[in-house]
């Protein structure tokens, strides 16, 4: 039916070319179009609907940077039906993919020329990794980069190798890792992300980007405000149940905003204008 108009609900085929085990419950999947390259273009912070027909379809952040046109990557935490199935995949498996959905981060506007402070908890690093690698690619467009990343244990740090081998060794990029509890073989910082951020005490001229579980976002934002940050300087992403991805199935709204299309990225002062239902 080649003469029919484009329909966003009809997905493309993606081929899984590589599976990386990041943590006991997170794997990162590399996905390419059957003819090679990425299935579509995106901006950092946007998401895609991945599906195994017959199993389910769900939204995932595109964790690779758009500067990478060879493939897309998704870091996926096993927590239910579809994600368990995805975790069993081996290279060569096809999936369906549609998108990109959502607004993405303002990498070409608000972030430009700013010192950036990334704060992530657990799988929350997935959407931030796209921005971080984008910023590293266009390094001269941005100021200093600080990354605070924490998880339950050292085994739960996603993309640990990339962080240690690339991010930690880069000029103008400071990485601060933390884990919730003492652990053998870990001589880094121990403690929760919000407290660590307060201890580190960042300059208030920075733009902060927080991503993680809702409770961590809440306390980190409070911590930043204690340091003197204004809500207009802080960005975060929201996660609600989604089906269509385009503001039509009526599922993901917070007040009058649809997270799938008006989000998932929000500035914290904009979130304040929405009813407290997330």
């Amino acid at each position: 039916m080649s003469n029919l108009p484009n329909e966003t609900l009809i997905p493309h085929i993606g081929v899984v070319t590589d599976v990386r085990i990041d943590t006991p419950d997170v794997k990162t999947f590399r996905v390419v179009a059957p003819e090679g390259g990425v299935c579509f273009k995106h901006i950092p912070g946007q998401c895609a609907m991945l599906s195994i027909p017959g199993v389910g379809e769900a939204m995932f952040s595109i964790t690779s940077s758009p500067t990478n046109t060879d493939f897309m990557e998704f870091s996926i935490k096993k927590c239910g039906c579809l994600t368990s199935w995805l975790h069993m995949m081996e290279p060569g498996q096809q999936i369906t993919i549609r998108g990109p959905y959502g607004n993405g981060f303002p990498v070409e506007s608000d972030f430009k020329g700013k010192d950036l402070l990334f704060i992530a908890g657990g799988i929350g690093l997935a959407p931030l990794r796209s921005v971080i690698n984008y910023v590293r690619h266009y390094r001269s467009n941005y100021g200093k980069v600080d990354i605070v990343y924490g998880s339950r244990s050292k085994d739960d740090l996603v993309d640990y190798n990339e962080i240690l081998n690339e991010w930690c060794n880069e000029e103008g990029v400071n990485v601060y890792l933390t884990i919730d509890r003492e652990q053998e073989g870990w001589d880094g910082h121990v403690g929760f992300v919000p407290n660590y951020v307060k201890e580190l005490g960042f300059d208030t001229n920075k733009t902060a980007i927080i991503c993680g579980p809702p409770i961590m976002i809440k306390f980190t934002l409070a911590g930043l405000q204690e340091l003197g940050f204004d809500k207009t300087q802080v960005f975060t992403t929201m996660e609600l149940k989604m089906k269509c991805g385009v503001g039509k199935c009526g599922r993901c709204n917070i007040g009058s905003k649809y997270v799938c299309k008006d989000g998932p990225v929000f500035r914290c002062d904009q979130l304040d204008e929405l009813p407290n239902e997330y």
Binding site: E7, T8, P53, V55, K241, C244, C249, E277
Partner: protein, 342 residues
Amino acid sequence: MYQIEKARLGELFARIAASGELILPVENNGTSQYGTWTPEVEVRLDRLNTVRSAKDCFFPQTENLMGFQMKGKEISIIDQRKPCEPFTVFGVRACDAASFGILDRVFLSEPVDTYYQSRRLAGTIVTLACGEPEETCFCSVFGIDAVKPGGDVSCWLTEDTLFWKSLTEKGDALTEKVKDLLTDGDEAALKAYQEKISAIHEKLPLKNLSLEGFNGDATEALFDRPEWAELSEACIGCGTCTFVCPTCQCYDIRDFDTGHGIQRFRCWDSCMYSDFTKMAGGNPRLTQKERFRQRFMHKLVYYPANNDGIYSCVGCGRCVAKCPISMNIVKVIKTLGVKNHE
């Protein structure tokens, strides 16, 4: 403007049906439901509203989206969209006719929902003015005139005559097909009829329901009102109000293994259901209070906020008539509105 004797409506329907499916209210176990016209069906133009609205014609309760074939590690996608054959919906009341504009703003905004769009393009809407409105009707509150019901063709049915007035190009095309059955309309007779039924509409009990206090900017003022607890207390979350509603648009997407492949389909869903927003990490609407509030805030505040102040309710009264606990949008408006204290 044209007219035809009521006794000859069968001929009119046969003629319309000759050039494509004709959907109209038909008898269904003591109620009326939109159904396909055949010479055998019992057409019910006397009952005011069908149990379910006319949205099925454009946004059916279930519809296939696409198919998949799975072979080893490979997947092929089968685009099952077919061009929609032209069809006519007859007997649409003003409220349902207005609901299409509300659904259009959702489904025809970018990215366009092509399933809905193809039906919308193929369908011609013939409306019917309401001569005997129910006490539950309050379309006029939303600026809808049931005496001039809109659509591609508007009709008025008196005791012995159907008046026919085309309003659009699609309406003209349909009129052309049936023209030899019609005679020139008696403008004076139509005007007299319109005046007569206007007088009835003027006396409807909900006529003066005030929407003051409900608009796109009212989230803060309304969201935390304590009255939501009481309003929603008895709601059993059955979803009836959303299924009969012409403007409710929420849907689910699901897969079904046919044995020969995977069929992906969509079906109506309801924000009144407890698992509607349930996620791995919890549920932002934990109790029926939040779900109930969502439905009415969407109709009266969120939709207007995104759509130039237009409400997503057309006052058809279906939820008023059908809710098993007699809770409805009218009670919400009366309780939370600024000016409805009786």
